[in-house]
Assembly symmetry: C2
Homo-oligomer: 226 residues x 2
DNA sequence: GTACAATAAATTGTATACAACCAAGGATGA
DNA sequence: TCATCCTTGGTTGTATACAATTTATTGTAC
């Protein structure tokens, strides 16, 4: 068959990466339920690609811990429990504490201006109670802060959990109360960053992520997701 | 060509995993220097395998962050600095603090007996100043403690750094002074575990890993590794 | 009907073939 | 001499073919 000539705009990535992201998304959202066996030919046909790039995508998922490989039996989707969510947020929180010193150290006026810009957009979204927009802006906001750090390996750990965070922090933002508190906290964060107040920022960020976790866990428990 | 029919004993893993580990080892030990481009055909020939399993190994290394992928240009070995070592130990220390509560909670008499057994072997190795044996036992000792925890995702983060730790903590163990201190600390750890003294253990473990890091960094700086 | 052996089907593991792309160098023309 | 186009060699991207292994199925004996 012909190559996948989708290529929207400038993107010309290998289709193994497309497959990787699609599978990752499908697993995290539960479209492919935990315990499912991923038979290569089935998914290759479904994605209209050959087994080769699909297998490379599976190897990546394997390193991510999303699927488990069994000798001569291929991969199975790993289970995903409330404890996982707890751990993911806990890891993220701990990593954040590790990078904050370098974040405060490296913050520039340009970065602060950018954060204030995002905050303004968040004000609007908050006003309109647009949870979807807030979820996107929220990731942008936190991402901008995190990537002020030069601790590349720690950032890599955070980024490896990024996809989960995206999904689950959206759940937290769905809560009206949490949304309002989080919004205030975001404003406070920028103020603390402005003053280079490391201790204050650490305390606030820790609280912020802890609250997000609790709200998210409550939401998940309610939906009896596990 | 015929399949790689090496298969020593019971091991019958796919050769992509063999390739993965060999490449990983070669990169971490510096046999393949940072910045090198890994041309698939070259290494496939060298390992006497085809490109397919090699590519799957490369995808895993990509997720590990050991190599970097450039569109249509393949992978290059990422640089590996003193800062990386610092971060790796820092991450490990932070993760350890997160799992220790569950370690203390789950510790059993059998586990303690096992730890004392390892300690005894370490006594012998310490007596004989056998640094190589100590390095192995050291990993076994710490691994046994870590895996008392049921925080699987956090353990996964620790394990993902395992290979580095193996290499670098061996450097720390090469120091006679550090070796002696570490040995004492290991004995103290078991005592604290016995008493389920979480706070004491946290304090000691934090100190222990911090000292290992410093010794290792000093050794690396001396060898002007970076 | 159950147990076991033999066989067939499904699936993964590996190798190879070919297409697409990039980079470098030479040919052509001004 | 310089710029531009084209070609070509090298390398990655993908598809496919085939081998090996596991799992399911069938058949036969008891």
């Amino acid at each position: 068959m012909a190559y996948q000539t989708f290529d929207p705009g400038l993107e010309n990535r290998p289709i193994r990466d497309i497959a990787y992201e699609q599978l990752k998304h499908a697993i995290i959202t539960g479209q492919i339920p935990a315990g499912s066996r991923i038979v290569e030919t089935v998914y290759a046909d479904q994605l209209h690609i050959s087994r080769t790039p699909l297998r490379e995508a599976l190897r990546k998922l394997e390193r991510d811990g999303l699927v488990e490989y069994v000798l001569h039996r291929g991969v199975v989707v790993r289970a995903f429990t409330i404890d996982d969510i707890d751990e993911i947020f806990t890891i993220r929180n701990a990593m954040m504490m590790l990078i904050l010193p370098s974040v405060v150290e490296n913050v520039t006026d340009e970065a602060l201006a950018r954060l204030r810009e995002i905050l303004k957009e968040m004000d609007v979204a908050q006003e309109k109670a647009d949870a979807d927009a807030l979820a996107v802006l929220n990731r942008e906001f936190h991402g901008s802060i995190e990537h002020l750090s030069d601790k590349l390996r720690i950032l890599r750990v955070i980024d490896s959990q990024e996809e989960y965070i995206k999904r689950f922090s959206a759940l937290a933002i769905a809560s009206v109360v949490r949304r309002s508190n989080a919004h205030q906290e975001h404003h406070q964060m920028v103020a603390l960053l402005e003053n280079r107040d490391l201790e204050g920022l650490k305390k606030l960020m820790h609280h912020h992520l802890e609250e997000s976790k609790e709200t998210c866990l409550a939401a998940v428990r309610e939906k009896h997701y596990s």
